[in-house]
Amino acid sequence: MDGATDDHKAGIAKWFLLRSPPGQIQQVAKDVQKILMSDKLYQQAASEAFPIYNMEQMICLELPDGSGQVLVSNCGALDSTHYLDLRTAQVATICTKIRPATDEELPSGFVEEYRSAIDSELLKYVEEAFPRGSCAVFCTAGSTAEEDDAPFELTALISASKISHQNFSSGSWRSTWKIQVNQELQSVDLTGKVHVNAHYFEEGNVQLDTNYEGSDSTVLQNPLDVATAVVNIIRSKESEYLLSLEESYSKLSDNTFKELRRKLPVTRTLFAWNNALQLSLSREVTRELSK
């Protein structure tokens, strides 16, 4: 069999890298490097995979001057190495340097009022509910909108992760809430998706993969009131989701798992191996006799 092409191999390496559980991409990268046995192929795969992985995982990076954090996501990506942080109006180049954002990169003053109001409210919620979470709000459409003018869309992102290699566990929480402001209809519509992953791998490999979708709307008011309403919606929807998760977990043992394997037979006693042996013996005899 002819060896696989270089591109095919790099593609496979990229597949593995993108499926790294939260916080484990370094370990996965080490394994992939060893298996590929070619630095060139690894670089090819890694250079494609890392930006995608960082954006999907909503990795949070500390800004070097301590002015805050920047959330890596496709909402704030100017290109694969430059990410916008609107809270401080800066652009971060991954691994390299910081510069102020240009006017073209920033939303209009009108949009910015709503964006920053939602951002501050969101920060309060995230601080309260996520022990180690970060968030950001981006303008993902209509960034030049002015008062009484065009609709615009903001996207609020929340990213939290828990990584504990000593405890063989890791997890990530990623919320994406699209906020559509329609000035004509005076409405604010929200649609959100939350994606949660967890991995526990002490002498085993168990992973949780769960998704939530929710939506709601509120009336368009001044930025502060909209911010309060929007974040209240996010807070309550996400709390609802957490409650559903709690319920799913509590149903596991006696309901969900039963679909695969019961804890005990219907008789509520262990299997009677000896009886079964006798049963099978008599079955064999009956079968033989009926031939």
Binding site: N205, V206, L208, S248, K263
Partner: protein, 274 residues
């Protein structure tokens, strides 16, 4: 190879087949090793002659053919396929019948197969007991709770005997994955794979089947409970430490902390007034 095994332990268990296929492309020289070490969900086949399903694994395979535990024939047919001895085949037949009843009682459906073969040890032999269950709504799920639900169990027992006492060494692998979607707004999926070993000595005067059966039953219960309570429980812990429930009042929860701060602040304020 170490890197490959480490990689498999981190990949989503539900995608292990794709992961193994990918590794085989990258490490063609290690294919024998990979195929034997990486646990895969079991494939099923239909035995026309006996009218029953059976499971495929390395232990009933010879070349590209597989032996059915019901008809004891290879498919596609083989002139000289590997076979257990007549005596072992008798035990194998009995084991398949009895294990099928066990399977029905615990799994309410599913497919099982038992294969046996002689080992180097004088009089020694080994057996593998396999179970596969599809518990999804379109499979054999009786309660209609699962969109997707698969359980695969592979138990390999090595038996050696000496003067009426037998030593059993069991290695069990369980792989499972399922997703529920009872709420249209939410999907919930868990998947996992664990391997455990157990050794025991039993008198072999009543034969081996009861001994092996009881060990397997014990092991399956341990694995099922372990997965359920420990492993799945840990993933729940991870989620709830990332995002705390806001309505709950505990000393460490966000609501509890802010309440404590409010109360303390109040006390301090009142004290400073006096």
């Amino acid at each position: 190879m170490d890197a490959a095994m480490d990689l498999i332990r981190r990949m989503p268990p539900a995608e292990v087949e794709m992961a193994l296929a990918s590794l085989l492309v990258l490490l063609p020289d290690h294919s024998a090793d990979l195929l034997s070490k990486v646990d895969q969900p079991l494939q099923e086949a239909w035995d026309d002659e006996s009218g029953r399903q059976y499971l495929l694994c390395d232990y009933n395979r010879d070349g590209d053919s597989y032996r059915s535990p019901w008809s004891n024939k290879y498919d596609p047919p083989l002139e000289d396929g590997a076979m257990p001895s007549e005596k072992l085949r008798e035990l194998e037949v009995e084991a398949n019948e009895v294990f099928a009843i066990y399977r029905d009682q615990y799994y309410e459906g599913g497919t099982s197969s038992v294969y046996m073969w002689e080992t180097e040890e004088n009089g020694g032999f080994a057996a593998c007991f396999l179970v596969k269950k599809d518990g999804s709504r379109k499979g054999e799920g009786r309660r209609g709770l699962l969109d997707h639900g698969l359980w695969d169990a592979i138990h390999i027992i090595e038996v050696s005997e000496e003067e009426g006492e037998a030593h059993y060494c069991l290695t069990s692998t369980v792989m499972l994955s399922f997703t529920t979607k009872d709420d249209p707004s939410m999907s919930f999926g868990l998947s996992g794979s664990i391997v455990r070993q157990m050794e025991a000595d039993f008198p072999s005067t009543e034969g081996h089947l009861g001994n092996m059966g009881r060990m397997i039953e014990d092991m399956e219960s341990k694995l099922r409970n372990g997965l359920d309570q420990v492993y799945f429980g840990k993933t729940k812990e991870v989620v709830f430490t990332m995002r705390e429930p806001l309505e709950i009042l505990t000393a460490t929860s966000a609501t509890g902390q802010s309440l404590q701060q409010a109360v303390v602040g109040d006390i301090v304020r009142r004290r400073s007034v006096h």
